[in-house]
C-alpha cells in the first residue's frame, strides 16, 4: 500500500454501554486507496467501532486521527463533513421519500432558495445507473426491495466524494451479481485513492476485494494483516479465538445431510397473494430441509409469508399434515406447529425495548402460562438453556434486545421459534449477518433438528448454503415456481442458472420531474 | 345614524345567541327563550357558542347572513361581543342584550343596541356581602369561591362583594379561588381550602352550584354548614332553595334566568316605537330562611 501517510488511525478506543464493555483498547488503521476488511464474531464490536468513528456514539477513551489530524466527530454530519461517509448495517433511509431525495437528503441541489428537482432526479438517476439500478427515482423508496434500498444507500455514500467510505455489511441482502457491481465500485474508489472499510461475514468477499484485514474479538483488535498473508482457516481461528485445529476445513458448511424424509408436513399449491407472488407450489416433508431460491424480488419472502398466514392468500391452497389449512393470521399457523423467522430482523423481528427473555419466549408464552399467568421459573429455565445452546452473547436475559449486536439478535429470534418445538420451521435468510462461527452452529443445529424430524423451509441468498444444506431446492422467478432441483442435481451453478434464466430487465417509465409527493 | 327600525309584524324571525349550556342557569335561560317564542309563534334561530366569545360573534354573523329580524344576545364577554353588536347594527338588525352587557365604550344602548336586560352582577355581590355582614355582625373568616376565571359575572361578583366588606374590619377573606361555576370543582377546592383554613366561618360562592359543592365538602369535613359555617351565594336555583330550607345554605341572591317574556315584550314595544330605557334591570329577589319555602315552586 502507498502509506505515505495513513488515512485513518484509531488507537486505544474503549467504549462501554450499561453492563457491556463493547470496545476495549481497539484499533484500526486504513491507508489511502486501501480496502480494509473488518471482521469479527457477532458482538465483537465492529459496528460500535464504526459508529464511534462516525460520531454516532461517543467514545470513552482513545484517539482518532484522519489524514494526520486528530479528530473527534460529535455527530454523523460532522463526520460527513470531515470526509467520511457510511453505509450502516441496518439500511437506514427514509421509506416515504423518493429514491432521489434519499440520495441527496441534506445536500439537495438548489436553484436559489428552492430545490432543483430536475437536476436532483437526473443526477440520482445517473448515479444509480452506475450500479445498474434502473428505477423511477421519483417513487417512494419503500416501494423497492431491500436490495434496491441497499444499493441506494451505497450510491448515496459513494456520491459524497469522501476520503473514507465505510460499509458495515453492505452485501448481506445483495445477490452475487449485485455484489459484483459493488466490488466494481469499490475498485473505482480504490483507484481514486479513497479508503474503504468493509465489514462482512462472507469470507470469500473479503479475499475478493480487500487489501488488509483487521480482526476483532470481544471488543479488542487481535490482529492486523495483509489479506494475502492469512489463510481463511487462520482468519476464522483468530476471530473465534480457537486453535486452527479446532476449526473445520475451510469452505465447507456445517450441514450434515439428514436421513430419508418422513411423511409430508406441508403442501402448497399455486399460492398467490398479489403482484409479488403469482403461483408458487412446494411441499416439505418431516426431517428434510427444503431450500427456496430466487433472485431478490422473486417472491421468496412472499411465499414464506403466505404459508405462515402473514399475508392473505388470494389464490391457491395449503395442506398441513394432509389436512387443508387456511391461516388468517400467524397465530393460526403457529398453533399448527409452524414457525417463521422473517428476513427483516429490525422491523419484523425484535421488540426493541423488551428483554432478551421476553423476546425469546414471546411465541411460547401461551404454553408457558397457567390460566394466563406466566410460569417465571420455567421461562427462566428455557431462556437460560437457549442462551447457552446458541451461544447468545448477552449481558443476561434482562438485557434489552436492542442492545445486542445484529447477529446475536438474530440468534434470539431463532431461539424464539426453536423453543416451540415446531414441526415446520420457515427461515427467511436465517444466517444473514451471522458470523462464520455462529453460522456453523446454526446450520449444525438445523440439520440436527431435521434429523429429529423437523421440517425446514429455508430461504437463502447464499447458494452455497442452499446447495450444501438442502435436500431439495425450489426455485422461484418473478413470483412463480419455475423448477425444483433434487438432491442429485444440487449445485450452485444449476441453482444460479435456474434463478437467473433470461431475467427480463425492464426500465420504469420516467415520472414527471419534481414529482415529489408533498 | 340611530338604531335600525323594526317593522311591526305579528310574527318575527329572531335569533338568540347563547353563550354556553353547561350549567342550570344557562339551561333555564335558553328554555325560557324557546318556550316564549313558541308561545308567540315566532321563529327562533338558536345558536350556542360553547363558551367561546369568538364563536359567538360568528354565530351572530350567521344570523345576520340569515337576515333575522332581530337578535337577542347573551354576550359571553363585554369587549369581543361589542364587535358583533356593531356588525348587526351595520346590517340593520336591532340587538337586545341579555344577562351580560357589552363594553359601553365600544357600543352604546339606544345607539348600537336597543337595550340591556339583566341583573347587575356587582350589585348581586354587594347584596350577598350585606346579608353576610348582618348575619355575622361584621365578624367572619371567609373563603370565596370564584366563578370561571375571567368571566364577567365572576369579576363583578368579586368586586361587588370584596369592596363592600372592606367596610367591616372584622370580615376578612382568607382564600379566594376559582370553582369554575361548577359543583364538583367547587367541592374539591373547598375540601382543600378547608385543610389550610380550618378556622373558616363563612363561604361566599359566585353561584349556587359551587355553594352546594362547598356544603358537601363542609359536611365531609365534619362541619355543620349553617351552624359552624355560614354559606351565601348567587342565582337562586331550586336545589339552592332546598338547601336553605334544610338549613345548610344561608341565603342566595336571585339572578333570574327567565328572560323570555321580558325580552320579547321589549322587542314588540320597540317595534311599536315606544321609548326603551337603556337598561332594564330584573327585579331580582333575595332568598333566605324567611321566604325559601314559599318561593321554591317559582324558582328554576
Amino acid at each position: 500500500m502507498n502509506d505515505a501517510q495513513p488515512l485513518l488511525v484509531m488507537e486505544g478506543i474503549t467504549k462501554t454501554f450499561p453492563g457491556v464493555l463493547a470496545l476495549q483498547d481497539a484499533s484500526l488503521h486504513v491507508g489511502q486507496g486501501e480496502v480494509h476488511a473488518l471482521i469479527g464474531q457477532n458482538g465483537a464490536g465492529k459496528s460500535t467501532l464504526i459508529k464511534i468513528l462516525t460520531g454516532a456514539y461517543r467514545r470513552d477513551r482513545g484517539t482518532v486521527r484522519l489524514a494526520g489530524q486528530e479528530v473527534d466527530f460529535h455527530s454523523p454530519q460532522a463526520a460527513q463533513r470531515g470526509g467520511i461517509s457510511t453505509i450502516y448495517q441496518e439500511v437506514n433511509l427514509v421509506g416515504f421519500r423518493s429514491v432521489a431525495e434519499n440520495v441527496f437528503l441534506g445536500r439537495e441541489p438548489r436553484r436559489g432558495l428552492f430545490i432543483d428537482w430536475r437536476a436532483m432526479n437526473a443526477e440520482a438517476r445517473r448515479l444509480l445507473e452506475r450500479f445498474g439500478v434502473r428505477v423511477d427515482v421519483t417513487r417512494p423508496l419503500a416501494s423497492y426491495s431491500v436490495a434496491v434500498q441497499q444499493m441506494v444507500a451505497i450510491a448515496r455514500a459513494v456520491s459524497f466524494q469522501s476520503r473514507l467510505v465505510i460499509m458495515d455489511e453492505p452485501t448481506s441482502s445483495l445477490d452475487d451479481r449485485e455484489v459484483e457491481t459493488l466490488f466494481g465500485v469499490i475498485r473505482q474508489l480504490k483507484g481514486d485513492g479513497v479508503g474503504v472499510v468493509f465489514v462482512s461475514h462472507r469470507l470469500d468477499e473479503l479475499y475478493a476485494v480487500c487489501d488488509r484485514v483487521t480482526i476483532m474479538r470481544d471488543g479488542r483488535t487481535v490482529d492486523e494483516r495483509a489479506m494475502g498473508d492469512i489463510s481463511k482457516l487462520e482468519l476464522v481461528a483468530k476471530m473465534l479465538g480457537k486453535e486452527i485445529g479446532e476449526v473445520r476445513r475451510e469452505g465447507e458448511t456445517a450441514f450434515e445431510r439428514s436421513g430419508p424424509p418422513g411423511e409430508t408436513l406441508l403442501e402448497a399449491w399455486h399460492l398467490r397473494t398479489g403482484p409479488a407472488l403469482k403461483d408458487a407450489s412446494l411441499n416439505v416433508r418431516a426431517g428434510e430441509i427444503v431450500g427456496l431460491a430466487g433472485l431478490l424480488g422473486s417472491g421468496r419472502s412472499e411465499t414464506a409469508r403466505a404459508i405462515f398466514g402473514a399475508d392473505d392468500l388470494t389464490g391457491g391452497e395449503l395442506r398441513v399434515n394432509g389436512a387443508p389449512a387456511r391461516f388468517r393470521s400467524p397465530a393460526g399457523a403457529i398453533a399448527r406447529g409452524i414457525g417463521f423467522c422473517s428476513e427483516d430482523r429490525k422491523t419484523e423481528g425484535i421488540i426493541p425495548h423488551m428483554t432478551v427473555r421476553e423476546n425469546l419466549t414471546l411465541a411460547l408464552l401461551p404454553a408457558l402460562a397457567r390460566s394466563g399467568v406466566v410460569d417465571a421459573a420455567r421461562q427462566a429455565e428455557i431462556v437460560d438453556r437457549f442462551i447457552a445452546q446458541l451461544g447468545i452473547k448477552t449481558a443476561g436475559p434482562d438485557q434489552k434486545i436492542r442492545e445486542l449486536s445484529g447477529g446475536n439478535q438474530q440468534k434470539v429470534l431463532l431461539a424464539r421459534w426453536l423453543c416451540l418445538n415446531p414441526e415446520l420451521l420457515i427461515l427467511d435468510e436465517p444466517t444473514r449477518g451471522i458470523d462464520v462461527g455462529a453460522k456453523a452452529e446454526i446450520q449444525r443445529l438445523l440439520s440436527e433438528l431435521a434429523r429429529e424430524g423437523l421440517g425446514v423451509l429455508m430461504i437463502s441468498s447464499e447458494l452455497e448454503e442452499l446447495a450444501e444444506g438442502s435436500n431439495r431446492v425450489v426455485v422461484l422467478r418473478e413470483g412463480r415456481t419455475v423448477t425444483e432441483l433434487s438432491r442429485e442435481e444440487l449445485t450452485q451453478d444449476r441453482i444460479m442458472a435456474a434463478m437467473a434464466q433470461d431475467p427480463s430487465p425492464l426500465a420504469v417509465t420516467g415520472a414527471p420531474e419534481g414529482g415529489a409527493r408533498g | 345614524q340611530g338604531l335600525p327600525k323594526l317593522a311591526q309584524k305579528k310574527t318575527y324571525k329572531v335569533g338568540f345567541a347563547q353563550t354556553e349550556s353547561n350549567n342550570p342557569w344557562r339551561l333555564a335561560q335558553t328554555k325560557s327563550m324557546q318556550d316564549e317564542a313558541k308561545k308567540l309563534g315566532w321563529q327562533l334561530v338558536y345558536t350556542d357558542a360553547a363558551g367561546s366569545a369568538a364563536k359567538q360573534v360568528s354565530d351572530v354573523d350567521s344570523m345576520i347572513a340569515q337576515r333575522v329580524d332581530a337578535i337577542f344576545l347573551a354576550p359571553r364577554e363585554e369587549k369581543p361581543l361589542a364587535a358583533a353588536v356593531k356588525k348587526a347594527r351595520a346590517a340593520g338588525i336591532p340587538v337586545i342584550l341579555l344577562d351580560r352587557t357589552v363594553d359601553p365604550k365600544l357600543a352604546k344602548p339606544g345607539v348600537d343596541y336597543v337595550t340591556f336586560i339583566g341583573s347587575d352582577f356587582v350589585q348581586e355581590g354587594q347584596r350577598a356581602a350585606d346579608w353576610l355582614a348582618k348575619k355575622t355582625n361584621g365578624k367572619a373568616t371567609i373563603i370565596e369561591l370564584e366563578g370561571t376565571t375571567g368571566s364577567s359575572p365572576a369579576n363583578d361578583r368579586k368586586t361587588g362583594f370584596d369592596t363592600y366588606i372592606k367596610k367591616f374590619p372584622g370580615m376578612k377573606i382568607v382564600a379566594s379561588q376559582s370553582g369554575d361555576f361548577a359543583r364538583d370543582k367547587g367541592r374539591q377546592v373547598m375540601e382543600t381550602l378547608l385543610q389550610a383554613h380550618p378556622d373558616v366561618t363563612a363561604v361566599y360562592a359566585h353561584n349556587d352550584e359551587m355553594a352546594l359543592g362547598a356544603i358537601a365538602a363542609l359536611e365531609a369535613a365534619g362541619k355543620q354548614p349553617g351552624k359552624d359555617v355560614t354559606v351565601v351565594s348567587i342565582d337562586g336555583e331550586k336545589d339552592a332553595l332546598q338547601a336553605i330550607i334544610d338549613g345548610k345554605l344561608g341565603a342566595t341572591v336571585e339572578c333570574n334566568p327567565r328572560f323570555g317574556p321580558k325580552a320579547y315584550e321589549t322587542l314588540i314595544r320597540y317595534a311599536r316605537g315606544d321609548k326603551i330605557p337603556a337598561k332594564i334591570i330584573n327585579p331580582d329577589r333575595f332568598f333566605d330562611a324567611n321566604n325559601a319555602k314559599a318561593s321554591l315552586s317559582t324558582s328554576y
Binding site: 454523523p76 416501494s143 413470483g479 408533498g518 | 369568538a54
Partner: protein, 335 residues
C-alpha cells in the same frame, strides 16, 4: 443488468398514482358536496357576507392548522396552540395603542418565543412533544391570564390595529387574503425547499435522518417555533377581529387543528402529508358549524348544542374513515 423492478412495480405505480389523486382530491370533493348542500338548502348561505365571515373566522384555525401540519409531519404534536393564540391576543391588545405593526410584531414575537421554548425542550431536553406542549398549554394560558389580569383586554381602535381583522380589499377580508398567502408560502416551503423535505425526512425515519447527517434537532426546533408564530398570528387576528385580547379564548383549538390536519390526510405518525389538503380540512370542519346554525334557522328543528356536538363527532368519524380508506390504499403494500 436488472435489479428487480418486477412487473409489480408498474402495477403498484398506476394504482398508487390514481389513488393518491383520489386521496388528494377526495377531501376536496367532500367539501364541494357540503357547500353544494348548503347552497341548495339555505338561502343566504352563499351570500358574500356569509362566505367572508366564515373565512374570516376560520382564518385563525387555518393558520394554526398550517403550523400543526408541519409539526405533525415531523411526527410530533402541538397542544399549546390554543393557549398561545390567547396569549398573543392579549399581548397584541396591550400593544395596540402603538399601532398595528408594533402590536403585530410584538405579539407574534412573544408567541414565537413560546414556540421556541417548546422546540428546545423537545429537541434538546428530549421531552416528548405531547407532554412538552401539554405543559405549555397550561403555562401559556396562565401567562395570558397574568398579563390580562384575568379580564379580556380591549384594543385601541384609533391606531389602525383593528384594520387587520376587520379591514378588507374589495370586499375580501384581509384575514382571508392572509390565510391564502400563508398557505401558498407553506406549500412552497414544504415542496420546494430543503427545509420542507427535511421535515418530512425527520418524520419518516428520525434515526435515519440523523445518520444521514440531517440536523434533526434544528428541524424540530424550527417547526415548533413556526407553529408558535402562526398561533401568535392567529391570536393577533383574534384580538384585531373581535376588538379584545381574550385570555380565556382558544380552548380546544388544538384539537380542531389536529382534526383538520388528519382529515386533510396527513399521517399523525409523520413523514407524509400535504399543506393544501389541511386547508380543505379546516374549511370542511368549519363549515359544519355554519351549516348547523343555518339548519336551526330553518325553524323545522332546533338542534341543541348537545346534538350539535354529537353530529360534529359523527361527521368527523365519517370523514376520517373515508379519508383513511383512501390513504391506506394509497400507502398499500409499500413496505
Amino acid at each position: 443488468m436488472s435489479l428487480l423492478n418486477p412487473p409489480r412495480e408498474l402495477a403498484r405505480d398506476r394504482r398508487a398514482r390514481a389513488v393518491s389523486l383520489l386521496q388528494r382530491y377526495g377531501v376536496l370533493v367532500a367539501l364541494a358536496l357540503l357547500i353544494l348542500f348548503g347552497a341548495l338548502r339555505y338561502p343566504g348561505f352563499l351570500s358574500a357576507y356569509n362566505v367572508f365571515t366564515v373565512l374570516g373566522y376560520n382564518s385563525m384555525f387555518g393558520l394554526i392548522a398550517l403550523g400543526m401540519t408541519f409539526v405533525i409531519m415531523t411526527g410530533g404534536i402541538d397542544l399549546s396552540v390554543g393557549s398561545i393564540a390567547a396569549f398573543a391576543s392579549v399581548i397584541g391588545a396591550l400593544l395596540s395603542p402603538h399601532g398595528l405593526w408594533p402590536a403585530l410584531l410584538g405579539a407574534v414575537a412573544a408567541a414565537t418565543l413560546l414556540g421556541l421554548v417548546n422546540g428546545l425542550l423537545i429537541a434538546y431536553a428530549r421531552i416528548l412533544p405531547f407532554i412538552t406542549t401539554l405543559a405549555m398549554l397550561l403555562a401559556a394560558r396562565g401567562l395570558a391570564l397574568l398579563f390580562a389580569n384575568n379580564q379580556s383586554v380591549s384594543v385601541d381602535y384609533d391606531h389602525g390595529f383593528t384594520a387587520l381583522g376587520q379591514g378588507n380589499v374589495g370586499g375580501v377580508p384581509f384575514t382571508a387574503v392572509l390565510l391564502g398567502v400563508a398557505y401558498v408560502l407553506g406549500a412552497l416551503l414544504l415542496r420546494a425547499t430543503p427545509f420542507g423535505r427535511h421535515v418530512l425526512a425527520v418524520g419518516g425515519n428520525e434515526e435515519a435522518a440523523r445518520l444521514m447527517g440531517l440536523n434533526v434537532e434544528r428541524v424540530k426546533v424550527l417547526v415548533y417555533t413556526l407553529s408558535g408564530a402562526l398561533a401568535g398570528l392567529a391570536g393577533v387576528i383574534l384580538a384585531s377581529q373581535f376588538g379584545a385580547g381574550q385570555p380565556t379564548e382558544g380552548l380546544g383549538w388544538e384539537l380542531t387543528a389536529i382534526a383538520a390536519v388528519v382529515v386533510g390526510g396527513t399521517l399523525l405518525t409523520g413523514g407524509l402529508g400535504s399543506v393544501g389538503s389541511t386547508l380543505v380540512g379546516v374549511l370542511l370542519l368549519g363549515i359544519i358549524f355554519n351549516i348547523l346554525n343555518f339548519e336551526n334557522g330553518r325553524g323545522t328543528i332546533s338542534l341543541s348544542a348537545y346534538w350539535q356536538s354529537v353530529i360534529r363527532g359523527a361527521f368527523l368519524l365519517l370523514v376520517v374513515v373515508l379519508q383513511n380508506r383512501l390513504t391506506r390504499r394509497a400507502a398499500g403494500g409499500g413496505s
